[in-house]
Structure formats: structure tokens, C-alpha cells
Symmetry: C2
């Protein structure tokens, strides 16, 4: 495939075009990734997730500034799990707000697949892989939603931040529902608001009960940038302290990449098959039983 030399030279337009191909689920991406498989990146991947309104975008923006202060290259991938109906308008808004448009060492990109089956998760993983191999020092991946997002940011990120706001103090439910396993670091954002101390305390309580006292809980406020700097330090410390685990996780990630691709491909085949075999009014369970009879377990790919 064309573009490998441009990609290696750091051509941003080639990168942007490749990420669009990821969004489209274009099979050319597989060829490209296959050919650059041996090209090693060194990016640190930071996942940021949390409910809407938790200040994730502002946090991202500040992180970009701190990373640029150290003269490092940073990419932001804002994953947009938007409905198939409304398109990716949300991120368009968000990106316009950002301050780094003219900096060639900052690459900001939203990712949306408009509801294609399994496509967003796949596109995000491919996007992160491309950004890593392109040579960024940091990749920030933002997703909305905690724990049940179509895109499991935890799988892709070396460190995952979960951002909450004081208003979520009531939501200990959420903390139990998987959130504890996602967060490497908790961020209580907008911490100058009422209730910040309470949610911090509750978080620490729940972490203690789960035997996870070591998980940092940091309060941040955009009115006091030293708080965000402290968070950035904490993220870097986490990355340093966990580098062997992170290495292993990346190995697993490569296996996962193959699995997701295979699933996506096979599922498209399955859809086509079903369209041809399922008449209106048919008993779907009977159709499936016929399929299973025709292709018994273990026979399909042999």
C-alpha cells in the first residue's frame, strides 16, 4: 500500500487519512498495519473516561499543555460513541474549543464509526496502534461512559483515569458497578465545588474495602493548575512503576487486535448469510438450529 514512506517520514496528512480508513472499516488498514508491524513505537497511552460533564475535555487540554511544556509529541483520540443518527457533531464542538490547532506536535482527532457493528472498538485500537508507530510520545484516549462503553479504554491504555465530579457523590452504585476495576487513578474534578471532600472520602472508603488502597484519588480544579500538574505527575509515576505489567498488557493487546478483526469480519459474513436465509415470520431459533446443524461446533473454520 502507498503511504508507508510518508508515514515513516511523519506526514500528518497520511496519518489522518489512515485514521479515516479505520473509521470506514477499510481493509486497506490491515495491509498497512501488517506492513508496519515491525515498526516499534514508544508512546505512553493514557485513557481518560468518566460520565459526560466530568470535565474530561478540559483535563485533556491541560494535559496536552503540560506534555508540550516538556517538548514531547502528543496525540489525542476522542472516541465518540455517538448514536448512528446524530453523527459526530459532539466532538466537532469539543475540538473547536482546543488551543493547540497550530502546533504540529499536537495531533487531535475524533473517532466515530456511526454505529457500524463492532467498528468503533476496532477503529480505536487501530488508531492507537497507528499513532504509536507514527512516533508520538503520548497518546490520550478519551471515551465517554464508565465501564459499559463499547470501547473498553482500559484494554488499550497503559494507565486509565476515571474522572468524576462532586455531584457524583451519591453514586456509590456506579463505583461498585465495575468502576473500581477500570480506574488506575481516580480524578475528582471540579474539586472547588461542594461535595468534593465527600466523594474523595467515599472513594477511598470503597477502595479500602476492595483492598485497593494503593489506587490514587486526586482532586483537581481548573482554577488551580498545580492540582492538574500533580495529577500529571501521578500518571507518570504510575507508568514508571508499572512498566513490566504494561509490557505484558501490550502483548495481550496484539492478540486482541487479531481477535477483534476476525470477529468483525466473520460477523459481517454472518449478517449476509442470515439475510439470505431468514424469511419474514420465520422462527429464528429454528434457523439458528439449522445453521448449527450444518456447521457443528469446530467445523466452521477447518
Amino acid at each position: 500500500m502507498n503511504g508507508i514512506e510518508d508515514f515513516k517520514k511523519g506526514d500528518l496528512r497520511t496519518l489522518a487519512r489512515l485514521i479515516s480508513l479505520c473509521e470506514d472499516g477499510d481493509p486497506k488498514v490491515i495491509d498497512f498495519l501488517s506492513e508496519i508491524f515491525l515498526l516499534k513505537g514508544h508512546a505512553k497511552v493514557i485513557g481518560i473516561t468518566g460520565p459526560p460533564g466530568a470535565g474530561k475535555s478540559t483535563l485533556l487540554n491541560t494535559f496536552v499543555r503540560l506534555i508540550r511544556k516538556e517538548n514531547k509529541k502528543v496525540a489525542v483520540l476522542a472516541v465518540d460513541p455517538v448514536s448512528p443518527f446524530s453523527g459526530g457533531a459532539l466532538l466537532g464542538d469539543r475540538i473547536r474549543l482546543m488551543d493547540h490547532f497550530n502546533d504540529p506536535n499536537v495531533f487531535i482527532r475524533s473517532l466515530s464509526t456511526r454505529g457500524k457493528l463492532g467498528g468503533l472498538s476496532l477503529a480505536t485500537r487501530q488508531g492507537v496502534t497507528l499513532l504509536d508507530k507514527f512516533g508520538f510520545d503520548f497518546i490520550l484516549v478519551e471515551t465517554v461512559g464508565v465501564g459499559q462503553s463499547e470501547v473498553d479504554v482500559r484494554k488499550l491504555a497503559d494507565v486509565t483515569l476515571v474522572a468524576l465530579v462532586p455531584e457524583w457523590g451519591d453514586s456509590i452504585q456506579a463505583l461498585k458497578a465495575g468502576i473500581l476495576e477500570i480506574a488506575d487513578i481516580f480524578v475528582v474534578n471540579k474539586a472547588d465545588r461542594e461535595g468534593a471532600d465527600r466523594i474523595e472520602k467515599e472513594l477511598k472508603n470503597v477502595l479500602h474495602l476492595a483492598g485497593k488502597d494503593e489506587t490514587p484519588v486526586l482532586k483537581t480544579s481548573f482554577n488551580d493548575l498545580t492540582t492538574v500538574e500533580a495529577l500529571y505527575q501521578s500518571v507518570n509515576s504510575y507508568l514508571d512503576a508499572h512498566s513490566p505489567t504494561i509490557e505484558k498488557k501490550r502483548e495481550v493487546g496484539i492478540q486482541d487486535a487479531a481477535l477483534e478483526l476476525l470477529e468483525y469480519w466473520v460477523m459481517q459474513e454472518a449478517r449476509t448469510w442470515l439475510k439470505d436465509h431468514m424469511e419474514s415470520g420465520a422462527n429464528p431459533y429454528e434457523v439458528i438450529k439449522q445453521f448449527q446443524k450444518k456447521y457443528p461446533k469446530g467445523s466452521l473454520f477447518s
Copy 2:
């Protein structure tokens, strides 16, 4: 398969056992569903979704009471998109709070598949189908998360309620990100708190801009049960007014059921294949390319 006669007779233990089989992804469920395919239910399926802390469980509880007042049978399916690590503890808590334990016309069940691939969505659909054919008048399906949940309640429900709380007034982001397409009715819960009027107004604004002025926005407060009664009325009016659309949606649902089953089955096959073909350190994109070469588009199921 055994149990069909007991099921038809209304044996709750048989029903509970079948739902457990759904959770386990047991293929016996397909046999069972195939055999009772012609058995028609008449349940109205009400989906309730929203962020954690939005008071969904209390809302459910009150709805159950209102339905029972009319002497109708009701099932609650609380879908637990919990992480594979922590199990279904959350719902255990929730269910213990409920008031209807000794009422044989109320069936309350949580559903959790402990992270099995695609399993939760599948199990939920099968669970709803079983409850419908069992003869319930209403099925309430609760999911956490808005728009990006693994379980798309909107697909399963005849009417979908999205519950928010005043604290979410800031989160117009969320409203854009697909939420408008999910909600048939918006509920501003805990409406005696500050900010309820503001979020109601914002919701109505956004709905107006989206050309959806007809979507009801109702404020509810558990301190004033008439507000929940009004919501219940609104839900029933919606169901009456949209019965032809709901009929069509159910037809599509039957097709979807087949597709999900097929996908689940084929994906398990794909996993097995990959385990046998993907060595550690291998280039995953090369493996996928080999697979696609071996099984070109359209050749897999022929």
C-alpha cells in the same frame, strides 16, 4: 426439552431456571425458545435507563406498585453490565431493597453474564422473550448507562424512559451524544432538588432544536407520588398511541434475535480458530490476511 408444560402452567421456578440458562449461554435455551415460538405473549416492555444515581431502582419499585394496583402481573429484569471481576453484587443489594418479595405476581430478576462475549445482550433479549411468553402484563427492563451500554434497551423495549437528575443539568453533552434518539420519555427524577426546572428547560430546548417537541419531559419526585403516577399514565398513553410502530419493532426484534444468536455462535468459533492459529509474537494482521485469503468474502457459509 423438559419444562414446557410447567412453563405454560406458570411455574416460576421453571422460568427462573430458564433465565439462568440464558445467563450461562446454554444452547438448551434455543431449543426451548424454538419450541415455544408460536406461544404469543402480550407484555408491554418498558425500558428504564439513565446514569447511576438517577433513581431508576426507586422508579421501578413505584411502577411495580402502580401496576399491581391494577392487578396486573409484572416482571422486572435488572440488567447488570458489571465487570467480569466484581460479579453481580450491585443488583443483589438493589433487589434486597424491593418491597414485593412475597407477591407471586411480581417476578424480579437480575441478569449478569460475567463478561461473556456478547452474552449480556443475548441473555437480556432471551429473558424478555421468556417473560413475555410466560404471560406477564408488563416487563420492566432496567439498564445502567445511556446510549453506549452493551445492552441497547431501546431495541428491546416498547417504550424507553431515560431518567436524569438535576445535577445533570450541566451535561448537555450527554443529551447530544445519542440520548435524544433513545428516549421516548424523559424523566427528571429527584425533581425537588435544585436545578430541576433548569434541566427540564434545557431538555425541552434541545428537543425543540431536534424537532422532537412531542417527546414528553416529566418531573418526578419520590416525595410526591402523584408525579410518578403521572409518569406511569404518560407511559401507558405512549404505548397506546404507538401500538402499530411497536408491532413492527417486534417483528424486527425477531430478526435481531436470530442475528445475535448467530453472531454469538460464530464468534465463539472464531475465538477457537484464532487460539489455534495465533502464536505469541505473530503479526496479527498477517494472520487475518491469511484467514481472509482462505475464506474470501461470501465463501464462509455457502
